[in-house]
């Protein structure tokens, strides 16, 4: 037993020493890059989506006709877009006459990428469907695009694709909580995208304007906007109008109820 432990420890020591030398010489980069993912993911997705269209009986859908494009990002604005991880997000846009794209123009895929260049991607159920779909003959079959594995060439084309998509800005507050002075704040969340979200939000309680507050949020971050004017006593709701200069915001104003004032 002791000999076994000594052998393994010695072997590991040799391995560690050699590894250290290799890393010192080569700098420890990665073959998992944004460009490679942006080329391989939409290509595979297009083929699988065309398979799905075949199952569903949708006509006129081929991998080429979809013209799928992707923009991939790892872990928000701060983290570099290189290396394996389960926090890769790919924004994929395609053209299918049967399924229109949302206002931002893409669907969001969550991708878990491994160091060997293989990945597992999960698609947005609103656009691609759930785990199972009903084919044109009425049978329940596995949805090929809901979740799929793929591998890309670790030595593949690494030139940037230039695909950029805007971030989606969402209002995440569902109920207003005025503070002691009856001022309200609104939480915004900026999704994955190329440039983050910028713009202004105007709030009004009935006829009373509550102010216009600008925002500048990086992708995959949230922020809280505080409106300077307090909400009038008898106001029952507040309407927020979002104007985005960078990014895609809600297309219509958001109205949130105000809880009744305590007697």
């Amino acid at each position: 037993m002791r000999r076994f432990v000594i052998t393994v420890v010695a072997a590991l020591a040799v391995v560690v020493a050699v590894s250290g030398a290799v890393l010192a010489g080569t700098g420890g980069g990665s073959s998992v890059t944004r460009a490679r993912l942006e080329r391989s993911l939409p290509t595979e997705f297009a083929r699988l989506y065309a398979d799905q269209a075949g199952l569903l009986g949708h006509r006129g859908v081929t991998p080429a006709s979809l013209q799928a494009r992707a923009m991939c990002d790892k872990g928000g604005a701060v983290e570099p877009d290189v290396g394996p991880g389960s926090n890769w997000i790919c924004l994929v846009s395609w053209t299918d006459p049967n399924v229109p794209m949302p206002p931002e123009g893409y669907g969001k895929f969550e991708v878990d990428v491994h160091s060997n260049g293989c990945f597992t991607a999960g698609g947005p159920s609103k656009l691609v469907g759930f785990q199972t779909i009903t084919d044109r003959r009425g049978r329940e079959v596995t949805n090929p695009v809901y979740e799929f594995d793929g591998c890309f060439d670790p030595n593949g084309d690494n030139t940037p694709t230039g695909n950029e998509f805007p971030s989606v800005l969402n209002v995440t507050t569902t109920a207003l909580l005025p503070d002691a002075e009856r001022k309200v704040s609104l939480q915004l969340s900026c999704g994955t995208g190329s440039a983050g979200c910028q713009g202004t939000v105007s709030a009004a309680a009935g006829d009373t304007p509550l102010g216009t507050v600008p925002f500048d949020v990086s992708e995959e971050l949230t922020t809280s906007l505080h409106f300077p004017t307090p909400v009038p006593q008898r106001a029952q709701s507040v309407t927020f109008t979002v104007t985005t200069t960078v990014g895609v915001g809600p297309t219509s104003p958001v109205t949130l109820p105000v809880p009744p004032a305590r007697p």
Binding site: R3, F4, T7, V8, A11, L12, V15, V18, S19, V22, L23, T26, G27, G28, G29, S30, S31, V32, S40, T43, E44, F45, A46, R47, L48, D51, G83, P84, G85, H114, S115, N116, G117, C118, T120, T142, P144, E147, F148, D149, G150, C151, F152, D153, P154, N155, G156
Partner: protein
Amino acid sequence: MTTGTLPAEAGTTVPAVAARRPGLLAALRFETLKLRAQLRAKCLLIGAILVPIAVVVVVHSQPRPPKDTLFGRFATENGFAMALLVLGFATQWVLPLLTAIVAGDMFASEDQHGTWKTVLTRSTSRSTMFWAKTAVAIAFALVALTLLAASTIASSWLIVGHQPLTGLSGQTIAARSALELVSASWAVMALPIVGFTCLALLFSVWSRSAAVGIAAPVVLGLVMQLVGALGGIETLRPFLLSTPFEAWHGLLAAPRFTGPLLDAVVTSAGWSVVCLTAAFLILRRRDITGG
């Protein structure tokens, strides 16, 4: 004791050339004779045929397929996917262990039985013994791999089916092509297996212990796999002997890519050469004091 004819009278001079000169072939027959008499070799080969059948049956009957391994999600519906799933399982520790059980014992068994002094005092040199043991170890590993592959592919075909396969780039692969690609994927595993065989031979010579010769390559293989999966140090991957076990991925992609395959050839060859050289030098220089 009875009388019998005793050796001839001592000559007065040395004969010019000895009548017999045993070569590598004789040593190969020697090692093969020994291996065939050992139960473990037979058990391993029989296991290589039977175990995949059991695995295919068990996985096929699972309600939820194993999604964490490539092709696992199709394994219950597609025989080719099943064969590739089993391949993925096997490369984790089964293949290194399969070869290490014989190769890790090749040299250490002589130390265990004390027979170095018996075999090295015949007419066969240390080099010839070394190469014979190496050749038999590698041949065994390749035979075991072939049996494992054939059994897996055949039982997957028969039990799960031979439907068209969805490849790693979403492409649909027809059954005939799929069979070729799956067979090629299994065949490519010969490269890292030869590497691990040589590694096990090195441990066998160096440690003189069969336990170390068998376990150390497997442990080292697992450690290398873990290291290879880490981010940030991926320039190490081409140097790890566990990386060639994934070289088959490119065969199932469209377009097919062969970079990792070529890397696998270089990596496996490199490890094999280094390990065999070290093992050879250790054996040649060793003083046989035991036995």
